[in-house]
Structure formats: structure tokens, C-alpha cells
């Protein structure tokens, strides 16, 4: 959660495969090593999927480690309705979407100033933002918890009038916590964009906002897309902030609601597996999209270079 070398690299020109003189034995060794590692690595996930697909009465009769007689999706539909999962998904959307948009907007503003102007405060500013993202969350949680109980916000934003126990509160802290990381990545990215384009606009007397919004941001689309993907995953996967700053069970986003799911389906591992796996679907979809964007970014870079 600190530095995204993959993001930076996504925009670097692709490296051409080197012709290396390899001994076949090394290749076979590499294959065996990777095959064993991969099988070990995906075993827990495959096992969870397998468990989730089997009827409860079958596993209780034959045990979990047994050949399947029937495979069914009914655990998924049961978990979905019994745990009211759509509700918690909606909570996650209400928190993740605004947080990602605001974090990227704020971070791109700061990064633009850092990359395009030479103010005396550039370095301190970069430190303030970057270091904020490196702190362990628990370092600030004690005062933050009191601040959240003290700050009053309009009831339109939070039904209890406080930042504590509200979507708005989680949006605020997720944004504040992630913005530093985005500033770091985006300012590096903007520095790598040739000055010519925005300088030309400067001569024409374009105002700062136009240079930022109309000229710089469109050029940052690949970095913004990659960051949006990372942030969506991280904020969606957040557990700590929601556990500490939301007290009403049904206001929790889905990742922290997993704790309730665990209690609810304690006696039925098949349902627990199904319910837990449902929560992974959005991040896995994001992962597929992320990979596509990486490849697109790479080929774009190579066609220009």
C-alpha cells in the first residue's frame, strides 16, 4: 500500500526480450519450481471454491475431503439473500466511489503544482503527502476516533450529525490516507511528460486551471486509470477504518461485514465459503481490467517510441 512501481513501469517503454543462452536444465527447473509454487498458492482458493459448490448435507455425510456427488450454486444464492449482501455492497459503493474520485482529483491538483512550478515549498509538500500514506493507521486512530465523535456535519451528509458512524467519515479518511500515495505517483508521472505542450499554452496566456484540466490531465489518463484501479481495490478491501469508525453493523462496507458473515454462517462452512467468495468478485473483475490496461499502456508507449 505504499509505492506502486507497477504503475510507473506500466508507462515505461517495454523491454525487448533478451536472447539469452540458457541451458535447458535451467528452464525445466524453472518450470517445475513455478508449477509447484502456483499449485500450492492457488490451493486455498480452489478449496474455498470447491467447498462453496457442494451441498451442506453431502459434506456433512461424506466429509469435506471427498469426491463430489452434486455441485450446486445454491450456497451462493442462499448466502446472497440470507446475509443481505446487496445492502453491504451498496455501502461499499457509497464509500469507495466518492473516495477514489476525490483522492484522484486532489492528488492530481497537488501533483500538477509540484511538477510544473518551482516553489520553495515543493519538497516539504511532497514529504507531508508521501509520509502521510506510510504511517500505520493505528498510530492516528486514537485521536481520530475522538475527532470523529466531535465534528458535526449536516444531517444531509450523516444521519447522526457526526463523522463517526457515517459513510462520509469513511470517505474522508480513505481519501486523506490515500491521497499522499497518488501525489507521489502522479507528480513523478507528470514530470516525465514533455514540457512543450503546457509551455506552448503558457505563451498563449492560458490560465493555470486550463493548463491543468485541459492540457495536463488528459495526458495523465494511463496513470489515472492505473491509480483508480489500485485505489478502488485498496479502499474496497479496507477493513480497519470501517471496524474502528463505524459502530452500526448495517452501515459497514462489505469487507468489514465479513466479520458478521463469519458469525452468521459459523455452523455451515459451505455457506461461509460462498458468501466470502462473493465479496471477492469486484476485485477480481478489477484485476482483469487492470491487466488489460497495463498491456494497452505498454503497446501505446512502444508505438510512440
Amino acid at each position: 500500500m505504499t509505492t506502486a512501481m507497477p504503475v510507473l513501469e506500466a508507462t515505461a517503454p517495454p523491454h525487448t526480450p533478451v536472447q539469452r543462452h540458457k541451458v535447458p536444465a535451467g528452464r525445466i527447473g524453472a518450470h517445475i519450481f513455478l508449477a509447484i509454487a502456483t499449485v500450492l498458492w492457488i490451493t486455498p482458493i480452489v478449496w474455498a471454491i470447491y467447498t462453496s459448490l457442494r451441498p451442506y448435507n453431502e459434506t456433512s455425510k461424506y466429509g469435506y475431503l471427498s469426491f463430489p456427488r452434486h455441485l450446486t450454486f445454491s450456497n451462493f444464492t442462499t448466502a446472497w439473500t440470507q446475509a443481505d449482501m446487496i445492502h453491504y455492497f451498496w455501502n461499499s459503493v457509497m464509500i469507495t466511489v466518492p473516495a477514489v474520485i476525490i483522492a484522484l482529483l486532489f492528488a492530481s491538483c497537488v501533483a500538477f503544482v509540484l511538477a510544473r512550478f518551482n516553489f520553495w515549498f515543493n519538497i516539504p509538500l511532497l514529504i507531508i503527502f508521501t509520509a502521510a500514506n506510510l504511517l500505520p493507521q493505528q498510530v492516528i486512530i486514537t485521536p481520530l476516533y475522538r475527532i470523529y465523535l466531535t465534528i458535526h456535519v449536516p444531517h444531509a451528509i450523516s444521519s447522526n450529525g457526526l463523522l463517526y458512524d457515517s459513510y462520509a467519515g469513511l470517505v474522508v479518511i480513505n481519501t486523506a490516507f490515500q491521497v499522499g500515495f497518488c501525489v507521489f505517483v502522479l507528480s513523478n508521472y507528470m514530470k516525465s511528460i514533455p514540457h512543450e505542450i503546457s509551455e506552448a499554452a503558457l505563451i498563449d496566456g492560458a490560465p493555470v486551471w486550463t493548463r491543468y484540466w485541459k492540457l495536463t490531465l488528459p495526458l495523465c489518463r494511463p496513470a489515472l486509470a492505473a491509480l483508480a484501479t489500485l485505489l478502488t481495490t485498496w479502499i474496497y478491501n479496507d477493513f480497519f477504518w470501517a471496524i474502528a469508525l463505524i459502530s452500526t453493523g448495517n452501515k459497514r462496507p462489505i469487507t468489514s461485514a465479513l466479520a458478521n458473515l463469519q458469525g452468521q454462517f459459523f455452523v455451515n462452512q459451505n455457506l461461509l465459503a460462498a458468501g466470502a467468495l462473493i465479496t471477492a468478485v469486484p476485485t477480481l473483475l478489477v484485476y482483469v481490467i487492470l491487466q488489460k490496461q497495463f498491456i494497452a499502456g505498454l503497446s501505446l508507449g512502444s508505438s510512440k517510441g
Binding site: W47, Y64, V113, P136, R146, W209, N237, F240, Q262
Partner: protein, 293 residues
Amino acid sequence: MSRRDVVVLSLMIGIPLLGVLFFIWFPAVATVILSFTKWNGIGGVSQIHAEGVQNYVQAATNYPPFWPAVRHNVLWLVVFLVLATPLGMLFAVVLDRNIKGSRIYQSLLFLPVMLSLALIGIIWELIYSPNFGLLNNVIGRSGQHNLIDWLGNPNLNLWAVLVEACWRQAPYVMVLYLAGLKAVDPTLREAALVDGASAWQTFWRVVFPVLRPINVVILVITVIESLRAFDLVYITNGGNNGLELLSVLITRNIVGQVSRIGFGSALGVVLLVISLVPIVTFLVMQLRQEKRT
């Protein structure tokens, strides 16, 4: 620059800066101040009393979970440093050889990084469960007389959870390192190979030194991630009975009936002081690079 530009620029920096200062840095400083006071959170700020280092003394001498938590955090860091990180680097180096199917291996190995730690905790419960879990069933220890309670036994559970943590951390390091390896100038390697260096020598003498910046980044991430560890132990058993961590103790002292703000803050400061080491390391390295460019 026009007046309007100055206003726009101030807003572009000012609003995000105020947010980060107020919601991150103000609490960080407040943690340090509050750690020298006593306050139960009732009766407003006027009820805060200065107490000197009392909270620290109490944590070290009269708070049983404190030292186990410190030990567990240290063990977490050590396991990340000697197991998860080298394993991730090894994955990256082998994948970087571009053998057939590298992409598939890489995509599958990377899967755990996409999952939330809370979900990882639940997935592994299906492995570790005493009666129904895959592990005990495979090794034949699922009978009532010879059960192994991986997550319940306080001598075992930290190791069991560390396996889960490494399962996610190793591929995370792998991807970061792979990006670094791809950026290494291929001619460097070619030259070394032409000069008759073995693959092993080429990596340690040529590639590894070039990767110094990414090595520091990975070291920083390793330390910070092991200090942040929370979700896995919390979802497993709430961070009790062999799974105490500093992060859990801090949370426990502010969330719940008893609010011991000064004491919780003192624990937070312990975490802050340790985390400053990797943070400062990282910033110094970044600023040096900044100056060079």
C-alpha cells in the same frame, strides 16, 4: 501570473493540504501529546490531565498483553524479512526468465494480493478448521482424539496466521520486484553473460546492485506492512490468545466500553517511533533521487 491564477493555485494545494494536515498529521501529533495524559473521553478536553510517562510505565510493567504483542510484531517482521520477501524476489527472478507460461504463473500467483485480508482470513479458516479443514483431513488429524487446533492453540496460531500473511506478501513483493527487473537495461546482463559470468553471478554482481532503489522500497514496505498487521488476527479471533499485536491493543483501548485514550495513545507512539525508521529511510532516498534529476 495573474491574480486569478494565484487564487487557483492556492486552492489546488490548499484544500488537499488542509485535509491531510487535519485528518492525518494533527492526529499523529495529538497521539504523542495525549500519550502523556490521562483521559477517559468523557467530559470534554478540559478533563485531560497531564500524567508524565505514567502510561508508558504502565504499558511496560502492568499490562500483560504488551510484551507478547511486541514479540509477535517482531516475529511478524522477521518472518516477512527472511521468508516472504526473499520468496517474492525468487518468484520474480524466475518469472523474469520469460519461460513459456510466465504470464499465467504470474497471474495465478498474484491472485491473493487482490483479496482483502479479511477474506484471506476466512479462506484459510477452511484450511485450518480442526474437524472440517483441508489440512487436518489430509494429514489424518481430524479425529476427536488427535485434532490439531491450528488457529486455537496459542503456541501454533501465530505461525498459522503468518503463513496466511506470507501467502499474500510474497506475490506482492514479486510484482514490485518484477517491475524493477524489467526496467534493468538488458545490455548489462548480456555483457555479463558474454564475459562468461554464470546466471547466479550475473544476478548478484550486476542486476541486484542496479536494483538498489527498488530494494529499499521493498524493505520499507516489508517493515511497514508488518507494523500495520491487524486484519488477519482480528478476523481470526479478535487478536487474543496468542495473536496479540500492538495494532490490536491500540484499537481495543479506544473502541469499546472502556476508553483509555492516554494509554492507547502511548501504544500508538510506540508504533509511530518504530515506523519512523522505514519512513525516514524512504524519504531520504526519494529526496536524493529528486536532487539528482
